[in-house]
């Protein structure tokens, strides 16, 4: 069962990388087999959780020993404008006895307890490695619980060892397609209903975008899954257009919604000025093509024109401050690339980036945009990054939290642009936020101080004289 699903996900026709492969390679899928002793990154369960947990009113129950949830809960910044149940960590916390005797009964009891105590609109149940090995059939338990308790109980079959985070994203998408999307009819629909896929409202980013959609007159019927409600996700099949935010992660959902319900999809991004404008433009155009009133396009253009002139005006003061400053960018995939033009527009020089998670197309696009001499590193070791930074080849590094210490230990400014960040960088306002954060970091007086030698280190004795 799970194997079929994984094959299916690997055979994704909506994924360009996938289509470029031979039939045999396709079978192998997109998970490289990992090198023991040199692998990093999350597991499939992790990836599934990332996609589904932002559904804020649902209960998320992890079936497994304590490792999978106990070490990881409460570590993501998806925000909710209402219900908080998604922040509660539920797990069956399997013990030795459950491993020997099977955990299915305990799982059912756990679901029942949660339903009785919290009465959520639905319970998501996540399969993890150990019960997958011992053969717990979570799909059967969920079906049974669902009947008994009269609530949707959704199995998410993505035990960690089947693959990477990325595969887990897709398997979560499969769970939604199979059990959720299309199960609830909206009270009413409009010609401008859209569904956004792959936006998790980290640091409240969706809220920088939604007011613009409202103003244009586009209704966000369902966002998968940032600030999500179970019911909204369940009625996503009535959207007129789907937007895929992170094309790699959930392309299977967008494509299958097109197949099943005839909803066209496009890939867009909320990061960077021109990408943001393109996104609004495309959304409006596609809605009009599907029968929405033509005035939608004019309203979109109006908002775009106003916001663009506003954002460039607001970025103006940063230009002299950013002059000559060099940025090292380390982040996966497409996201960073949509930020590049905006950052350069604000006067920064982007030195190079890692392309570890980028596709061939991404790389081509980078080359086209930046020329051949621009650095692209496939696999740069932390030690090499450290050396580059310590040698002052860059003025700031932007990356995810795991690599922050490479930069900080080299006493070079660092900015978090991944999921644990506390600032929202989406939309027009987000770019201004980002520049503000860069400026704050770059201009902090600590950098001069921490690079001073200690009093007992030999060095220019001018420090004393310079001290007022």
């Amino acid at each position: 069962m799970l194997q079929d699903k994984i094959q299916d996900v690997f055979n994704e026709p909506g994924c360009a990388t996938n289509q470029a492969k031979s039939a045999k390679e396709k079978k192998k899928g997109c998970t490289k087999s990992l090198k023991p002793g040199a692998a990093a990154g999350g597991c499939a369960y992790d990836g599934a959780m990332i996609v589904l947990q932002p559904i804020a009113d649902a209960a998320h129950l992890v079936h497994g020993p304590i490792a999978c949830l106990g070490n990881s809960w409460d570590n993501r910044g998806s925000q909710s404008s209402g219900p908080q149940l998604y922040r509660t960590g539920f797990t069956t916390d399997l013990s030795e006895l459950d491993v020997i005797g099977g955990g299915e009964k305990k799982l059912y009891r756990a679901i029942k307890e949660i339903v009785q105590q919290y009465d959520p609109p639905a319970v998501f149940v996540y399969q993890t490695c150990v019960p997958a090995m011992t053969g717990d059939d979570i799909a059967a338990v969920c079906r049974f619980a669902s009947e008994k308790l009269g609530k949707p109980v959704i199995p998410v079959d993505a035990p960690g060892f089947v693959g990477s985070k990325n595969l887990g994203n897709k398997l979560a998408g499969e769970a939604l397609l199979e059990h959720v999307i299309g199960t609830v009819e909206p009270e009413y629909t409009t010609p401008t209903d859209v569904c956004i896929i792959g936006e998790y409202n980290l640091a409240g980013e969706l809220w920088l975008v939604k007011p613009l959609l409202d103003e244009i007159g586009i209704r966000l019927l369902s966002c998968i899954s940032g600030d999500g409600r179970y019911k909204e996700v369940a009625q996503a099949h009535r959207a007129r257009v789907t937007m895929m935010v992170c094309s790699q992660a959930l392309v299977n959902v967008g494509r299958k919604m097109q197949e099943r319900y005839g909803i066209p999809y496009f890939e867009g991004s909320f990061y960077g000025v021109s990408d943001m404008s393109d996104t609004l433009r495309t959304m409006a155009r596609m809605l009009v093509e599907r029968g929405a009133d033509k005035s939608l396009i004019d309203r979109a253009e109006g908002v775009i024109a106003r916001e663009e002139s506003r954002v460039w005006r607001r970025l103006e003061p940063y230009k002299p401050r950013f002059d000559g400053k060099r940025v090292l960018l380390f982040t996966g995939g497409v996201k960073s690339w949509s930020m590049v033009s905006a950052l350069e527009g604000a006067g920064l020089t982007i030195l190079g980036t890692s392309t570890k998670k980028s596709t061939k197309e991404d790389k081509e696009r980078i080359k086209k945009m930046k020329g051949e001499e621009f650095h692209q590193w496939d696999d740069l070791k932390p030690r090499d990054i450290y050396r580059m930074l310590a040698d002052h080849q860059a003025d700031i590094m932007m990356s995810g939290g795991r690599s922050q210490f490479i930069s900080l230990k080299a006493k070079v400014p660092w900015l978090d642009i991944n999921q644990e960040r506390h600032h929202a960088y989406a939309g027009y306002d987000g770019i201004v936020n980002l520049c503000e954060e860069i400026d704050k970091t770059l201009s902090n007086p600590i950098w001069r101080q921490v690079r001073q030698p200690a009093p007992w280190e030999s060095g220019p004795s001018s420090t004393l004289l310079a001290a007022e």
Binding site: A39, P65, F90, C129
Partner: protein, 456 residues
Amino acid sequence: MSHIQRFPSAAKAATTNPLKMSQPLGAALAYLGIDRCLPLFHGSQGCTAFGLVLLVRHFREAIPLQTTAMDQVSTILGGYDNLEQAIRTIVERNKPAMIGVATTGVTETKGEDMGGQYTLFRQRNPDMADTALVFANTPDFAGGFEDGFAAAVTAMVERLVEPSPVRIPTQVNVLAGSHLSPGDVEELRDIIEGFGLSPIMLPDLSLSMAGRQPTDFTATSLGGVTVEQIRAMGASAATIVVGEHMRVAGNALELKTDVPSHFFSRLTGLEASDKLVRLLMELSGKPAPARLRRQREALVDAMLDGHFFFSRKRIAVALEPDLLYAVTGFLADMGAEVIAAVSPTQSPVLERLKAATIMVGDHSDLETLARDADLIVSNSHGRQGAARIGVALHRMGLPMFDRLGAGLRVQVGYRGTRELLCDIGNLFLAREMDHEGRGHGDAHGCGGGSCGCNAV
């Protein structure tokens, strides 16, 4: 072990807002206190990523941690190949002095004979004889963080320590339990060195986890007790064992080396600190240094000044067993009433706890038990529940991801006890001075302080 049955575990099937963390994570922390060590999880890669993120958020340090990257196929076939390949790769790439292996749920479900695999590895890889290897069994589905830490320390003692024909009278071993922060370990070293003794701390997080500025970036731990030092523990005059969960490792050490051990269940509190100082005076034959005398006087003074605010205060505590014991003991010393003590796992130390209710449970149990408490003491995960019931939260233990300097807090010895006393006392004092009642609602003006409200 019949004695631990007295404490009820929650009868729930769903653990809600877990307090428990898994064994391998505890083992990883212990291994991180060894110089140039690379901890390795024998399991799928996800467990490693989660453990790594948790430790990074707590210590705000780069955390070296690797995985044998077991996938579905290797899980079925058995994990030896992955283990061997991982160790070889790590040695080639990073040249660590030691690799500390911890099994996980994935490898333990299949059941792998780690002793046999160790022998096999050594036979097949004579070129790697220089790298110390320690294997600990740490299944995710049994025990918890503290047990994993204990298993790793015991494994290191058994694998590395050697008996010695000589005794160095000034050398003492310290088995430092997981409830000691890097700051605590540092404090302990200071105290011991004050008597002219040289301690070997196993593990020594104070050197690796308390904020280093290396001149190069390494993929192994940087600083900590060295493998040579661990080997030399057999030549010490005495071993100081700190924490109930270090008892097994302490016994193993004594059995192997004949070095007599002295057991301390806690080092927080006036009497507990006195006991340590008395031992150190005996071991060294020296009087207590002036600095310690001043610190003791200051603690006595702080107890006199502070007891008003602690008397009869109702406090609920949820922490790892040995830290739970240390903190509830200290609170009782100060005249506070511990209304509830929640432990993530069973432990013999629960037997000796003084609290109205003692249970093995999670943060949701704590939330229920703490409804009319004056204070909650727990890790950062306690913030959601504390905010819901409107009780102030004093953060201790791990993880503490929403405060700076989590690893540097000192709560042992006279100085550390005084710091803890002031930190908690100030929470009570602030409330009395501000005329603020309990059960504060949304707009309670905590300013995002330590009250645990959502302002963070």
